[in-house]
């Protein structure tokens, strides 16, 4: 009830400021499962070295959208996808693009920390590199040690594990496991990091560590953060996109979206007026 909606501003579905290059450009993206459409005609820019948060009710298509951004969606049997996604102006769905190499440039961190539990911390960090064949050709041990240290440092985990790199990944706490997964993603030296509800299994302290880490990572990487936690989007992102039934309702600088959304549906969702 309390405040009337702010008057409609012009649509803000491309929120990139003029000075920041667009890293990922989503153009008229459709995605679904079999005959069921999930993402509809979605157009969105992700500016370079910014954090874009994606919010929206459960089932609105957030995960499907981000999984289209590194071609993981198509791995599901029956998955459909149309439209285009441009990474540095090149369509990732073009025929000459190797999805495996693409996923090295666009890394992903999932909701539940999923390290290989019996594999050592060190090998967990290297797992992504091994899977993509990047370690073939016999790199020297010191170089590999350097990769491990750098990835763990960037994931803000190095100080906590440097004395037990041989311990099993499963021996870490949930929050540490999630940072290990971030280290695994970073070891591949991606340009974009997709994070799908990376804190939903973590306690508030572990969550704060990840959010703190996101602030640091954004100096190097372009980040897309899916979250069902609006406060997290408000705290951690530069831009926020609101999705509803697979459609982009509004994308705006985070501060504006949370103080003065331009669409009534965004206002209702973020103030907790559901149906």
């Amino acid at each position: 009830m309390i405040a009337a909606p702010a008057p409609r501003a012009p649509p803000t579905t491309t929120a990139a400021d003029a000075t920041t290059p667009v890293k990922l450009a989503v153009r008229a993206l459709d995605a679904g499962f079999g005959a069921t459409p999930v993402v509809r005609q979605l157009t969105l820019d992700v500016p370079e070295r910014r954090v874009l948060a994606i919010i929206g009710p459960s089932g609105c298509g957030k995960s499907t959208l981000v999984r289209c951004l590194n071609r993981m969606h198509e791995l599901v049997p029956g998955a459909t996808v149309g439209g285009s996604v441009l990474l540095d102006d090149h369509d990732i769905y073009a025929r000459d693009v190797d999805p495996v190499l693409l996923r090295r440039r666009i890394g992903m961190v999932f909701q539940k920390p999923n390290p290989f539990p019996t594999m050592s911390i060190r090998e967990n960090v290297l797992a992504g590199l091994r899977l993509t064949g990047a370690l073939r050709g016999g790199r020297k041990q010191p170089a590999i040690d350097g990769i491990v240290e750098q990835a763990l440092t960037r994931a803000a985990l190095w100080d906590e594990v440097k004395d037990r790199l041989a311990a099993a990944g499963g021996s870490l706490s949930g929050g540490q496991q999630q940072r290990l997964c971030i280290a695994r993603a970073l070891a591949v030296e991606p340009e974009v990091l997709l994070m799908d509800e990376p804190c939903s299994a973590l306690d508030p302290i572990a969550t704060a560590r990840i959010e703190d880490l996101i602030h640091v990572l954004r100096e190097r990487y372009t980040i897309v953060l899916v979250t069902h936690n609006m406060q997290q989007a408000a705290r951690a992102s530069d831009l926020t996109a609101f999705l509803l039934h697979g459609e982009l309702i509004e994308c705006a600088p985070t501060e504006r979206l949370f103080t003065q959304p331009s669409d009534r549906r965004t206002e209702d969702y973020i103030t907790g007026k559901f149906g």
């Binding site: 009830m1 309390i2 405040a3 009337a4 702010a6 103080t259 103030t271 007026k273």
Partner: protein
């Protein structure tokens, strides 16, 4: 308009809205009584009006507490956030208006002791105008009507104009008639207080525009306009 799914939250916001309206009603009443005490030289009315300020002070504290509780427990966003930010400012202006009504009553008591000064034309007009502004701005708040709030802002220029007229007339009289000095000084203070009431009504109106539109219209032009 859709309601908050959490009905307790919805009722907290409604209660806060009602409290602000109630507090505003009280200070409007105080200003009306102060104006009457001045016009009718009624020291008794002035004294009973001063007592009302206690309740207004309690209102201020309680509304502040309600806002803080909502901020801490609900983390309001968008229109709800603007409503809380607006309530925190409005409550300060309303409390100041109560104080000014007390100041007016104190002068009314002093003036009632002295022989009546022949009426100053602009003074009654000022009192009527600021009361209208107060009423209109709270109606605008209740209706979330930014255009009506903007109309209140515009009327403040008239208050200032009247104030300067009153000032000139009082100074002229005081320079001609030394026996009018004491009464003149009290009346000058009254004019100044009325002018300040206009300023507070203007603040309230700016707060209502912010609440409704998310636009800060304070100091327009002086800062190169609000950010787009």
């Amino acid at each position: 308009m859709p309601r908050h799914t959490d009905r307790e939250y919805e009722s907290e916001l409604r209660a806060l809205n009602d409290r602000l309206l109630k507090m505003a009603g009280r200070v409007e009443e105080m200003v009306a009584q102060a104006a009457r005490a001045l016009a009718e030289r009624d020291a008794e009315l002035a004294r009973t009006t001063i007592l009302l300020d206690e309740t207004v002070n309690t209102d201020e504290v309680e509304i502040d507490e309600a806002c803080q509780s909502i901020l801490a427990r609900r983390q309001p966003l968008a229109g709800d956030l603007r409503f809380i930010a607006c309530a925190l400012k409005m409550v300060t202006d309303l409390e100041r208006i109560g104080d000014i009504a007390v100041n007016l009553c104190e002068r009314a008591i002093e003036l009632a002791r002295e022989a009546a000064l022949s009426p100053i034309a602009g003074l009654g007009q000022m009192a009527a105008l600021v009361q209208e502004m107060l009423k209109d701005v709270m109606d605008a708040f209740n209706a979330r009507a930014a255009d009506r709030a903007r109309a209140v802002v515009r009327r403040d220029d008239l208050v200032d104009e009247l104030y300067h007229g009153v000032l000139r007339e009082l100074l002229a009289r005081m320079s001609q008639d030394a026996s009018a000095l004491q009464r003149g000084i009290h009346t000058l203070a009254v004019a100044k207080f009325l002018e300040r009431l206009g300023d507070h009504a203007t603040n309230l109106a700016e707060e209502v525009v912010f609440l409704v539109e998310g636009k800060d219209i304070r100091h327009a032009g002086k800062r190169g306009g609000p950010p787009a």
